[in-house]
Subunit: 380 residues, 2 copies
């Protein structure tokens, strides 16, 4: 085989909704060979803006220069050369790095005619359990608004539901009365969701780091009767001591780590056994090989892995490829109900059956972006 050399790139920004666009990066290697990765949510998870898209274009260009003329297999070398620059530059930079790394993996494995999982030791499962994160689909953030979407996801076959019922939680320096009201509101949403899905469906609560140590502990204890499958990021995972203390004090399993970069970033959580489940995001953690490394580190501390993935179908495919090879994989996130066209955006189409994603055995990511839908949804 003549080793392919990377010689170009493209960026596609796809309009999704007011919470954010999806950004795809394509790497080219001559003779029609391309690879794709997803670099969505590099400027955060809550709002789409044209400025964000410009920032991400700039970041992808910035990290592409490490790849021009290089082999798409040379992931370790890319890491060595670009790691420090990415580490020092925050979420947009690590997201660009991670999107490009996915595209390298897609390109490398397509050039070898094998799925990406074959570069990672081969799959240990074909069926990838997926949970419906309904948060991005909820229109009315009343308890009923949560319950309606949860019921709908269950009807579509999902057996695990995640919500983020505290997204409108006030700043912690507000009055005790406001805190109390926001807590009651959040808990009412959780109770309504549990009631809607019944006792036999797994329910996870993501707190999006809205709390401090005291409140994070208190909320978990208040929820002890609701049987959560896990309790996620009451505080930011960088707040290691708080995370450790909350973990010790609460009855639920604790999960977190969605924006951490690299095995170095996950090292403290793992070495301190600060969580039960780590949540690397293939779009922010360094990419596909890095997710494998992080999972191995976690495994040596008996920690499970549930990849964070509230974004588009390329991130889903990339996450599924690596998840299929992990011994300590638990379940993969899916941004359920966000658009009615996402499954058409790739071919073969993305398909979930009873909360299971069936892994493609096609080369690379196992799917291609559909040019037709891509062109319809391009922001420019």
């Amino acid at each position: 085989m003549i080793e392919p050399k990377i010689n170009g790139f493209k960026i596609f920004v796809i309009k999704v909704n007011s919470r954010g666009n999806w950004i795809f990066v394509e790497l080219q290697a001559g003779v029609g060979l391309t690879g794709v990765g997803e670099a969505s949510h590099g400027c955060g998870f809550s709002q789409a803006s044209t400025k964000d898209d410009i920032i991400m274009r700039h970041q992808v260009e910035r990290f592409y220069r490490f790849l021009e003329g290089e082999s798409p297999f040379a992931v370790e070398n890319f890491r060595r050369k670009a790691w420090k620059e990415a580490t020092d530059a925050g979420l947009p930079a690590v997201t660009a790095f991670s999107g490009l790394e996915q595209a390298m993996c897609d390109l490398a494995s397509k050039s070898s005619g094998v799925p990406i999982y074959e570069l990672l030791g081969g799959k240990v499962r074909k069926k990838i359990p997926v949970y419906a994160n309904i948060n991005r689909a909820i229109e009315h953030r009343t308890p009923d608004g949560f319950a309606i979407k949860a019921e709908k996801a269950i009807r579509e076959g999902f057996r695990s539901i995640k919500i983020a019922p505290f997204d409108d939680f006030p700043n912690l320096d507000c009055s005790p009365g406001e805190i109390e009201a926001a807590l009651e509101n959040g808990i009412a949403r959780i109770e309504a969701t549990r009631k809607a899905i019944g006792a036999n469906v797994d329910l996870m609560v993501d707190c999006h780091s809205k709390f401090n140590r005291r409140l994070g502990t208190q909320v978990a204890q208040l929820l002890s009767g609701i049987n959560l499958h896990w309790y996620e990021e009451p505080v930011a995972p960088e707040a290691l001591e708080d995370t450790i203390e909350i973990h010790r004090a609460i009855p639920q399993r604790l999960a977190g780590g969605e924006t951490l970069f690299g095995k170095e970033g996950f090292g403290p959580l793992c070495r301190q056994n600060a969580v039960d489940i780590i949540m690397p995001d293939v779009k922010h953690c360094g990419g596909i090989f890095e997710t494998k490394k992080i999972a191995l580190l976690a495994e040596s501390h008996s920690i499970k892995v549930s990849p964070h993935n509230p974004s588009g179908p390329i991130s889903m495919a990339a996450s599924a490829q690596v998840a299929s090879t992990l011994n300590n994989f638990e379940i993969l996130e899916h941004a359920w109900g966000e658009t009615d066209w996402r499954h058409h955006l790739i071919h073969p189409e993305e398909e979930f059956t009873n909360g299971i994603l069936h892994l493609s055995d096609q080369p690379g990511l196992g799917c291609q972006l559909s040019q037709r839908i891509l062109e319809q949804q391009l922001t420019q």
Copy 2:
């Protein structure tokens, strides 16, 4: 690509010398596609016996049954299915497992037309520093006998030398006088070697687990003037507390782990920072992917990796493939001077220049067994 399926195997036992034979395992996947791995020293490092070869044939057959009909890429699956059986059955079993895993990697990457390092994230170096372990070449185990071989290795360009000067150390329950004499003898060998190679060549001492905590500490302290590059396995690495205490007490860097199996086996040494350098052996630790995993675990504890490799050219090629991808790789072992035909046993021939092995960019291991030399040296 039609995914290859493993459909046969062969074992080659090659006569080397009285200290042991080399055993190669070949996996077949139809249409002339083969992969090879090395499973030498599965019954120990010090003596060749026909019985050992029979044991290893049996063990390779035992673990081959997990592979019949499987994809050579399915390393993680092989691990899942065969791991417990290998873990529970000692060095012959883990060596057979590891030899087969190397052969899977060779087969898988050859079927993709890429070197094995491309399955491991790509190489970060082409030049692999190698040290000459002269121990297996020494004829007269006098200080002069050590010095003569060390000088010869230096003349051939090696810049790092390892010796095992305590191999004839008596049982520790013998008389204090005998211990004293054996210590003096061992130290005289080290001093003679240092004198022969000068101050600017790295010198490592492997104690082959001959000591206990007290003696292991005492010997290292006696050697403090000799500037060792590392001090290796004064006690067995399974003796974790002893290893930790010796590590704390001595001035040299401590190395070890040559017979440990899997990242699970290396977990305690790494998590306790019990050594400075771990020494997974691609023939005993689980193979090529497992060496990568162990190295990642070590990296997260700031521990270096120097693969143990006192055996044949296939183990050398497999070790070099994985070493080329590691950030925390230090130097690779070479069983220097054991035969005068080993470099002919593979093509392209094995070649060291100034203590550097140049990594092949051919598919798979980057080399093939030479049928002609193989047939000359076959034991049967």
